[in-house]
Amino acid sequence: MGDPFGLIGQWLMDLVTGWGMQPVAALTLLRFLGAAILATVLLLVCFLLIVAERKLLGRFQDRYGPNRVGPWGVFQTVADFVKLIGKEIVVPDGIDKPVYWLAPLLVVMSVVGIWAVVPFAPGFLGTDLNVGILYIVSVGAIGTLGIIMAGWSSNNKFALLGAFRAVAQLVSYEIPMVLTLLVPTMLAGSMGIAAIVEAQKDMWFITAAPLAALVFLISSVAENGRAPFDLMEGESEIVAGFNIEYGGLAFGMFYVGEFLHAFTVGVLFSTLFLGGWQGPGAEQFPLLGLVYFFAKAFVVWFITVWIRGSFPRVRIDQLLSLNWKFLTPLALLIVSLTAVVDKLAVEQGWSRILALLAANGALFVGTMAVLGAYGRSVRLREERLRATAGGLSTGIAR
C-alpha cells in the first residue's frame, strides 16, 4: 500500500509496452489517457460542486436552495444538465463562427489545464513542471483570451462591454496574484508545485506569509469573477456579460468553467499556502494525502462561497482602485519584505518563520494605519462636500 498511483502507472506502462509499442509513444499515450481521465473526473466533480454551492447560498440567504430533484435535491444539477443538452442551439446572427465556438472551449481548458501541475498526493500529479507557478499564470491568461473572444465574436453590445470589463478586471488582478505567487516561490526556493508542497512539510506557508495568502485569496476570487467581483456578468447591469449570446451546452461550459474555477482557487490556495497533501501519515499512505488535499481545498472553497454569499457587488471604479491603489502596492511591499527578511534570517526553521511572521504583522499594522488615515481624509472630504453641496455625497473609491 506504499504507492498505489505509482503502481497503477507502472502496470499500465508494462501493459501498453507489452502490446509492442515503443516507450516514447507509450508514455505519450498514457499522458493523454491520464489527462482525459482527470478532466472527466473534474467535470463530474462539478455536478457535486454546483449543487453544494447552490444549497450553501440558499442557506446563507435563508432559503432552502434546490430540494426537489432527488434526496435533498442532489440531482438538481443533473436535471439542469439534461435540460441544457436538450436545448436547441440558437446561433445568433452576424457572429464570427469559429471564434464563437472556440471561446467556451478555451475557457474550460484554462481551468482544467491548471490541474495538470497540481499534486494530489505524494507521487500523484500530472507533470512536475519546474516552472509550475508560471504555468498556472499562463494558463489563466488563456481563459482571459477565451472571454474576450466570446464577447467580441457574439456581435452584441452587452457581450462586448462585459468582455471589456472582464478583461480589464482579469488583467489587473493578475498582477497582485502573480506578485503574491512569488512569495511561496521564494520560501520554497523553487517554482515547481511539488517542490513547494514538499517545502511545507514542517510548517504551512500561511504561517510565514499570512498577508500574501490573504492578497492571493482576494485577487484569485476576483480572477474567478464571482461576487463581490462579478462585474463581468453583472446581471443587473449588462444582462449577462460576455456569455449573453450563448445557450445550451456552450453556456453550460462557461457555467462549469466558472464553478470549477472556484474550486480550483481553493485547490491552489491549499497547495501553495496550506501545504497541499501534507499531513500526518500522508507520506506512508498516499491515499490519506489525497483526503487531506481535498479536505483543505473544500474548506477554502467554502470560504469563497461564503464571501460570495455575504458581500454586495462593488462598482467598477471601486474594483479597479482596490486593485491598483491597494492590492498591487501591498503585494509589492510583501514581496520585497519577504525577500529581505528571508535573506536576513540566516538559519532556517522556526526563527525564520517567526521573523517572517513578525514582518508580516508589522506590515499589516502599517497598512491598517495608512488605510485609517486615508479613510479619515475621505470622510473629511465628504463632510466638506456635504457641507458645501448641501447633502449630496460623492462616492469615493475605498
Binding site: L129, N130, V131, L134, A141, I148, W152, V167
Partner: protein
Amino acid sequence: MTVLQIVFLVTGFVTLLAGVMVVASPKLVHAALWLIVSLAGVAVLFVLLNANFLAVVQVVVYIGAIAILIIFAVMLTRRVMADTGPTHNPSWWLALISALVLLGGLLALILQVPAFAQAGPTAQPAADSGLSDLGTALVDVNRFLLPFEVASVLLLAALIGAMAIARPADAAEEGGE
C-alpha cells in the same frame, strides 16, 4: 522519423501557417488570433528545445499580455466587426518580392553556419534546463546584471511613455483617470 521529429514538423507547419494567416487574413481580429496560435507554436518549439521557462514566459508575455493588448487596440481603433477597404498596400507584390529576396539572403546566410548540418544537440543542459543558472546570471554583476537592469529601465520607460501618449488630450489637462 522519430516522434520528436513528427511533433516538430507538425508544430512548425502550424506556426508557419498561422504566421501566413497573420499577415494575410482580411479580418484584423482573426489576424490577432492567428498571431496567438503562431506564438503558441513557438512556445511549443521552445519546449522541444528544453527551454520550459522561456516557453511559459512566452505564453505569459505574448499571449497573456501582448496579444490581449493587440486585440484591444484592434477593437478600439475600428468599428467592431466592420473591416472595410483593402487590407494590403496596392504595392504588396513588391513587398512580397523583397521578402522572398530576403528569405534567399537569409538561407544563404544559414548555409554558412558551420553547425548547419548538426544532427542533434551536443550536450544536455542542466537538469532544470539552466533555470537556476539563468536566475543567478541575471543578477550577477560580472554577467548580465547591466543588460537586465537596462531592460527593466526600458520597461519602466515604456510603461510611463505609453500612458503619457495614450491618455486623451482632455485628460492631459485635468491630469488623470
